[in-house]
């Protein structure tokens, strides 16, 4: 499904990713963990085509190398990103946000054809968005904005959904709701998911695979079962160096 190999990049001369390797298997969730500033958001930006510089490496989706493709073309290839901080178009209405999510669906009619069908599906998935479809997105609660951001990303029917800290700034009860929904997207719709999440316990509950980042590098990765005792995760978050943190070496 998604294979990121040897990706190095950053912001102009400032490198923030070093030789990063991550995979997401079809219909599985890979969770990327790491402390603040580890490079998790930059990794998602690199995959989405939003990191200003990717100097080397391959980003393959179903065997198609997207490393040189601009961001809008990656969306057409099946990548979808939900950015951190519930990044919706706050001045636009809920429905306009969803329609913009379906921008790549083709056709000129705003509410016609595939876009209309996808809009109906989004409302079925998130009924509260239908109730508030004429409200400016900026007026929604945090949880509703996160639903809108996810609904928007799902509009074009992506192959891979990337979520950047979907629980950030949400109440604990809403966090459970959002992460349960993420798991449902995998279980019921077979969607492949790359999830960056600070709430480790919640994220590990739904993970199939785990990658741990530190200082712009993946320091260890593997199936979730290799991380079950929590030692690697504890060591990373307590600040120890990443040496010898491969699953099974602790």
């Amino acid at each position: 499904m998604l294979s990121v190999t040897g990706v190095t990049g950053g912001y102009g001369d400032l490198r923030v990713l070093w030789d990063v390797e991550v995979t997401v298997r079809p219909g599985r969730i890979t969770v990327v963990l790491g402390r603040n500033g580890a490079g998790k958001t930059s990794l998602l930006s690199a995959v989405a085509g939003l990191l200003p510089t990717v100097s080397q490496g391959r980003i393959e989706l179903d065997g198609q190398d997207l490393a040189a493709a601009p961001a809008h073309r990656r969306v057409r290839s099946g990548l979808a990103l939900v950015q951190e901080n519930k990044r919706v178009f706050r001045a636009r209405t809920v429905e306009e946000n969803l329609l913009l999510g379906g921008y790549t669906l083709g056709g000129f009619g705003l509410r016609r054809g595939a876009r209309r069908a996808a809009l109906e599906q989004a409302y079925e998935r998130f009924p509260v968005l239908r109730e508030r479809r004429r409200a400016p997105a900026g007026s929604l609660s945090g949880g509703q904005q996160q639903m809108l951001a996810i609904g928007q990303a799902l509009m074009p029917g992506p192959k891979l959904l990337m979520l950047d800290e979907p629980s950030a700034g949400l109440a604990p009860s809403i966090v459970n709701e959002v992460l349960t929904m993420v798991a449902a997207l995998r279980d019921q719709e077979g969607l492949s998911i790359l999830l960056v999440e600070q709430r480790i316990e919640h994220a590990l509950e739904i993970a199939d695979d785990v990658a741990v980042m530190e200082n712009g590098r993946i320091i260890t990765a593997g199936p979730k079962s290799a991380f079950d005792d929590g030692a690697v995760i504890r060591e990373v978050y307590l600040g120890r160096s990443g040496e010898e943190l491969a699953p099974g070496n602790h």
């Binding site: 200003p52 979808a80 636009r92």
Partner: protein
């Protein structure tokens, strides 16, 4: 009422400047300080088509529209694109002001420093309308400006590309993440803004003459129109332009010919103090 018609005709030109600013601002997040100069070039190309080549109205309009669109695209390529992606977002302020200065200089070098008379496309006999007199060409200028302003407003709210333009203005990265080709939108906006400026070259030139420093004087009133109407709102720019023209005309009529600019800038300052977003402006919130 004659003062109202005069104010509306002058205001239509200010509205066109504000509309041009907004087209580019909404789609690319760039404030094109050279837009008034594009309108100035439009008046010269209209003069060239109508007088130098003796072309009929439609070919003259097409010549001016295509010519100014190409110049706008060159400006985007030279003054904007090299700065895209840089963290210093103020660079385009400098480069577009530079483009404006270059266009002023080129116009003076090509067409000279003396005002050139652009022939009116309609009979020059004033009409009596609603108790005032107005030249048909001014009436056409007011009418077509209304059509373009309202049309662009509806387009931005009710078409996918229009919504994409608003989304891009609000958050370029988020728009890219939704599959919107923000660079193409930006280039297209320069071309459309240039074409609109060119289309109106004949009507504007008939009211102002074609003169190399026209853009310089119109740009200031375009800013006032934007300040009154609010940046990012096509309807606001349209109304702000007409309001500016009316204030100017009434100040000239009732206070004195020496004072309209002072009054207009007084209103400008008042708006900045009382309602910095303008009457219809949405704050273009940006994440940094």
């Amino acid at each position: 009422m004659t003062t109202v018609w005069a104010g509306l005709a002058t205001g239509a030109i200010y509205s066109l400047i504000a509309i041009g600013y907004n087209i580019v601002l909404l789609a690319s997040g760039t404030f094109n300080f050279a837009h008034a100069q594009l309108l100035m070039v439009g008046t010269f190309l209209a003069y060239t088509g109508a007088v130098t080549f003796g072309l009929p109205v439609l070919p003259t309009v097409l010549l001016a529209a295509a010519g100014v669109a190409v110049i706008a695209l060159v400006e985007e390529r030279v003054a904007i694109r090299p700065l895209l992606g840089r963290t210093d977002s103020h660079g385009t302020l400098i480069t577009t002001v530079g483009a404006a200065t270059i266009l002023d200089g080129l116009a003076a070098a090509i067409w000279g420093r003396q005002p050139l008379t652009v022939p009116p496309v309609l009979p020059d006999e004033p009409l009596t309308l609603l108790g005032g007199t107005v030249r048909p060409v001014d009436l056409a200028l007011i009418g077509f400006t209304l059509v373009v302003g309202v049309g662009l407003h509806l387009w931005s709210r009710h078409t996918l590309t229009g919504l994409a333009s608003l989304a891009s203005a609000e958050d370029r990265d988020a728009a890219s993440a939704r599959g919107i080709n923000v660079r193409l939108l930006g280039v297209g906006a320069f071309a459309v803004a240039g074409a609109v400026a060119g289309v109106f070259g004949l009507l504007v030139g008939a009211r102002t003459y074609a003169v190399f420093d026209l853009g310089h004087s119109l740009a200031l009133f375009g800013f006032v129109a934007i300040a009154i109407g609010g940046s990012g709102s096509q309807l606001g720019g349209l109304i702000g332009g007409f309001a500016t023209g009316l204030v100017y005309a009434f100040a000239a009529r009732y206070i004195g010919a020496a004072y309209p600019q002072i009054v207009v800038f007084g209103v400008f300052l008042l708006i900045l103090f009382l309602r910095p977003r303008g009457l219809f402006g949405a704050a273009l919130e940006r994440r940094v």
